[in-house]
């Protein structure tokens, strides 16, 4: 059920899009109104969620230290995994955000004969996660050509690089294949590893199916079901310049593609996909490990919590203290 329900949900989305593309006015709805709405919800939602997070203070300085701290001058500090300066934190966050540093560290516990527990390194999750995210990024950037005129140089360069194998016409993009492969890996991993399957929720499968749907319809559109590229470019460019118009026969597949993207954008702020923004705000990663050097302020620190007073302590134990030769304040 955990897998089936989200799968059905994505199929239902596709069906809705298919119907919408056929009924009068549906194309305008899916091609023009929905993208604006979805984009607004996406932006607004993400900003709202980030502000909601930011509203809560960070009461304590709790970085997870993953290396030697700044201590005596002759002890070599791990300035990135245990940063004591802002620069160190920036480096740490850079590695985390762009290279998935923590996942790279992943190990795999195995029982060997003996039995003996061995912790080997395991980089597959890291590899496919990074392929997935970077392909996604490249694909999104490549799509910028649809919204900009003239096409910026970096987009053209990206396209050229992505298609450098020069296979087929239109030129085949490697990212498309890698992207599908990475999604498939992430999905298969969830299904085949018993403990990962055990922890997975519908909310984990749904975005996978949805993104797979988006990629798949996109690939169909590009390589197999030819669509009117000029008309599409006109529409998308129109969207970007706030003068959208649908001309010619674009083809239903395009509307399915757009509809799924809109669904993803709307779903995004309400889901675990917010990890994209959350990683920047994670207190165990983005804080400087300098809590003994600089006092961190907790806005709700309660000044009324005071230790059991020394006076109260001495009152209770004064006789014992005197007998034991321990100095007291009041004789």
């Amino acid at each position: 059920m955990r897998i089936l329900n989200p799968f059905i949900a994505v199929l239902a989305l596709i069906a809705v899009a298919l119907v919408a593309a056929q009924v009068p006015g549906g194309q305008v709805l899916v091609g023009i109104i929905l993208p604006y709405l979805a984009f607004a919800l996406f932006l607004g939602g993400v900003v709202y969620r980030v502000l909601q997070w930011a509203k809560s203070p960070v009461p304590f300085r709790i970085p997870t230290t993953c290396g030697q701290a700044n201590s005596l001058p002759w002890i070599k500090q791990n300035k990135i995994d245990c940063p004591s300066t802002k620069l160190g934190v920036i480096a740490r966050m850079f590695l985390e955000v762009f290279l998935f540093r923590s996942l790279f560290r992943n190990t795999k516990a195995e029982m060997h004969d003996g039995p003996k527990l061995v912790y080997g390194s395991s980089k597959f999750l890291w590899l496919f996660a990074i392929l997935f995210h970077y392909c996604f990024l490249v694909i999104v950037l490549r799509h910028m050509r649809l919204f900009m005129d003239p096409v910026p140089g970096f987009v053209s360069a990206l396209e050229f690089g992505d298609g450098f194998l020069q296979i087929g016409a239109p030129v085949f993009y490697q990212t498309d294949a890698i992207f599908l492969g990475a999604i498939a890996f992430l999905f298969l991993r969830r299904v085949t590893l018993s403990n990962i399957r055990y922890i997975s929720l519908p909310a984990d499968y749904f975005p996978l199916f949805l993104i797979f749907g988006i990629a798949f319809t996109g690939i169909l559109m590009r390589y197999f079901l030819r669509v009117d590229v000029v008309a599409i470019k006109q529409l998308t460019h129109g969207l970007a310049t706030f003068s959208p118009a649908i001309t010619g026969q674009i083809g239903s597949i395009f509307f399915i593609h757009v509809f799924l993207i809109c669904a993803l954008m709307i779903y995004f702020p309400f889901s675990k996909l917010m990890h994209m923004a959350g990683i920047f705000m994670s207190p165990t990663r983005n804080m400087i490990n300098n809590s003994r050097m600089v006092r961190h302020i907790n806005p709700w620190n309660d000044p009324n919590i005071k230790p059991h007073s020394y006076a109260g302590y001495e009152d209770e134990f004064r006789e014992f203290m005197k007998e034991g030769g321990i100095p007291v304040e009041k004789e």
Binding site: A109, M111, H112, G114, L193
Partner: protein, 181 residues
């Protein structure tokens, strides 16, 4: 066929059934998938059981090095001794093996009384060894407990200090203690 041959030829089948039954996993369909689970880290404890039993089986019936089973079983029994098992459950694996081999014998129609007697003797040795090891592990556990109490760390809760501040409760405290222990 002689039983000894059966034990070697059907090693895989016997061991799979044995491990399965020792793990006493889930009888229904869903479990079948997990029993096939080769991923060792998905269940380290389960894997420990598996690898230990394979080793013991080899020592008993292939290499005929009965004296070595102690070290092969030690860690497994030590793990089982701190799981929540009845003592019988913790050492029952010798009898489970007999059961498994019996059913394979029946299936393969092996009749070999001498072979069976030899096998049974080994299975019995396995049972004694398991019992010894289990008892030793539990004893070690209790010794560990006693050592911990002797070390003085226990007075954090048995010093009875703050409760002295509250009045008229020493009787109840004693009462509570008996419930707790």
């Amino acid at each position: 066929m002689l039983l000894q041959e059966l034990l070697i030829e059907n090693k895989g089948e016997i061991l799979d059934a044995w491990v399965d039954q020792v793990l006493t996993t889930y009888p229904s369909d869903g479990a079948r998938i997990f029993k096939k689970e080769k991923d060792q880290f998905a269940n380290p404890v389960g894997f420990a059981v598996k690898s230990s039993l394979w080793e013991v089986y080899g020592l008993l019936f292939e290499k005929n090095e009965v004296e070595k089973i102690v070290s092969a079983l030690e860690q497994l029994v030590r793990i089982r001794a701190v799981q929540i098992f009845a003592p019988s459950e913790a050492v029952s694996m010798a009898y489970t093996l007999k059961k498994v081999v019996k059913s394979v014998c029946r299936k393969e129609k092996v009749v070999d009384l001498d072979g069976w007697l030899a096998f049974e003797e080994k299975a019995d040795i396995l049972a004694y060894t398991l019992f010894d090891l289990y008892a030793a592990s539990r004893e070690r556990l209790y010794q560990t407990r006693i050592a911990e109490i002797k070390s003085g760390n226990n007075i954090t809760t048995d010093g009875g200090c703050p409760s002295k501040l509250m009045e008229g409760n020493s009787a109840r405290k004693a009462e509570l203690k008996t419930i707790n222990v």
